[in-house]
């Protein structure tokens, strides 16, 4: 190798190392931002976090402000959303994977679901406003909000459940059929038990997505200020992200820190929900020995 070539090789290797560093930096950027974001929120919010904060109503005074109605509102909405979306989502996935024939129409449904997954969440809010609030005259209630959220997370649940159902080994399905079972018996006997961890994980992730959503519920008509406790599906409501949104937009500077405290509550709930997903997945993980 002559000098010229050696030099070139050195330069190429240099460039490789430099770019290696840059790529690493790109990755670390996300990590650092996450750390900064968390520290920033904890620093601002922790001093305001107390038991009173959890059980107080919102107030004009930052010190007296609490998150209780929003917390309950979020729990109501999420509970109903799950009840509505889970059976429909899993049922649709079972239909698409096990029952539907491989034809144009099925293709169309699948394409349609993929498209729905990409629709901005605020559009679902407009759907909710037009269909649930007005057309079905549910009003600006928890019920309307839950239906809206359910439709929003449905594509996520369907797609996750489809993946889980696809992962069921065909040898197990065949074994079941060979024992003289019908399709539905095989679905309930083999497919759902085997796919359940995947289905649950996907559904819980979808639920946590819904917990953090504010935009569609603003359109559906969550209240900005709630001074009562929602008692049932037909009550008006607010949810955590909307309460946080309101605080963050208030002119008094302290309210921004109250908002941070609200964010901590929201993040803790999300953490809890996601841990449940991980625990469920680990507990029910069923693997075939090879």
């Amino acid at each position: 190798m002559n000098n010229e070539e050696l030099k070139r090789l050195k330069k190429r290797k240099m460039l490789n190392s430099v770019m290696h560093g840059i790529f690493l930096a790109c990755t670390l950027f996300g990590v650092i931002v996450l750390a900064v974001l968390m520290i920033d929120i904890l620093r601002k919010g922790l001093p305001w976090l107390s038991f009173d904060f959890l059980k107080n109503f919102p107030s004009r005074f930052p010190k007296k402000s609490g998150i209780y109605p929003a917390l309950l509102g979020s729990l109501w909405v999420i509970l109903l959303t799950a009840i509505i979306a889970f059976p429909i989502g899993v049922g649709t996935a079972i239909y698409l994977e096990e029952y539907a024939e491989d034809n144009r129409f099925t293709e169309f449904i699948k394409l349609n679901i993929a498209n729905l997954a990409g629709v901005p969440s605020i559009i679902y809010g407009m759907l909710g406003l037009a269909v649930f609030v007005r057309l079905f005259s549910m009003g600006r209630t928890i019920l309307a909000a839950s239906f809206t959220m359910a439709i929003l997370i449905l594509p996520i649940i369907i797609i996750a459940s489809q993946e889980a159902i696809k992962s069921v080994p065909s040898s197990l399905k065949q074994a079941s059929y060979a024992l003289g079972t019908t399709k539905w018996q095989t679905v309930t006997g083999v497919i759902i038990p085997y796919a359940l961890p995947g289905i649950l994980t996907g559904s819980i992730l979808a639920i946590s997505r819904a917990l953090g959503e504010a935009a569609p519920l603003i359109v559906v008509g969550a209240l900005a200020y709630v001074s009562f406790i929602p008692k049932g599906p037909f009550d008006q409501f607010t949810v955590l992200p909307i309460q946080i949104f309101n605080w963050a937009g208030m002119p008094k500077k302290e309210f921004q820190d109250v908002a941070a405290a609200g964010i901590i509550v929201l993040l803790v709930i999300l953490l809890g929900v996601n841990s449940v997903a991980i625990i469920l997945r680990n507990k029910y993980q069923i693997r075939m020995k090879d």
């Binding site: 491989d102 080994p169 040898s171 197990l172 399905k173 065949q174 074994a175 079941s176 059929y177 060979a178 024992l179 003289g180 079972t181 019908t182 018996q185 006997g189 083999v190 038990p193 085997y194 069923i286 693997r287 075939m288 020995k289």
Partner: protein
């Protein structure tokens, strides 16, 4: 002797590909019938036509008749679910459900509406004994079936099939994934089981066919070249191709 299954002029297609050509055969009750032949000749395909497991493969076509109890199994009167209850199947690779041993055995019964505990308990014990697994697993009947060895799993799959009290048990190379000892146990089991069941077994082992079967069919390229009593096939084959195959001179 009366045949339990009569196959007449059977053709089978995967799309355009004709995998079975004009198969005619009578399967006799309480006998072991072995299917032999080189890889890809259609043994598994034929086996699956007998309990309509081919229904799950897309784009296939069946022509001809398979008569079981006086009815064509591909006719409208025959419910495939019902048929599979009567003609059970054991697969090449052991495929127990990720459930307990007990639940594996009673799976088919439960699904068919049998839920009485005494009945299920009795069936579990009897079938485990029938497949000579009882002593090995009696302490872990409520443990996961996946903890069993491959050979034990395969015997469990046989137990699961006979728990349905079928008339016929189809076995597709049930020992090809197993060690020699497990293979031997399953062979003994097959000989034991033929008292109560009619057994059809696909095998790549000439010795196995010779050891356990009463009838043997030799398949080649989707055709049945020769079908006769096993002793005749192995001692005095009529067709040159059969002779070549069983003496190992083939291909």
């Amino acid at each position: 002797m009366e045949p339990i299954l009569s196959i007449r002029n059977l053709n089978f297609y995967y799309g355009e590909h004709k995998a079975l050509k004009d198969v005619n055969m009578d399967i006799y009750k309480n006998n072991v019938t072995a299917f032999i032949g080189p890889s890809g000749c259609g043994k598994s395909t034929f086996l699956r036509t007998l309990n309509r497991m081919n229904d799950f493969i897309e784009n296939v076509k069946v022509e001809g008749n398979i008569i079981y109890e006086g009815k064509d199994i591909y006719s409208k009167e025959m419910e495939p679910v019902e048929l599979r209850r009567r003609i059970g199947m054991v697969f090449q690779k052991p495929n127990p459900f990720p459930k307990t041993i007990y639940e594996n055995i009673v799976y088919g019964l439960r699904k068919n509406g049998v839920n009485k505990k005494e009945v299920l308990d009795e069936v579990v014990e009897k079938t485990l004994k029938a497949v000579a697994l009882y002593d090995e697993v009696k302490d872990k009947i409520h443990k996961s079936a996946l903890e069993l060895s491959g050979g034990q799993q395969q015997r469990l799959c046989i137990a699961r099939a006979i728990a349905m009290q079928p008339d016929v048990v189809l076995m597709d190379e049930p020992t090809s994934a197993l060690d020699p000892i497990s293979t031997m146990k399953i062979e003994e089991l097959v000989l034991e089981l033929k008292k109560d069941y009619t057994i059809i077994i696909v095998t790549h082992s000439m010795q196995q066919a010779a050891r356990i079967s009463d009838y043997t069919a030799f398949f080649l390229n989707g055709e049945v070249v020769e079908y006769d009593e096993t002793s005749k096939i192995f001692s005095n084959p009529r067709d040159k191709r059969t002779e070549d195959y069983i003496t190992g001179r083939f291909g």
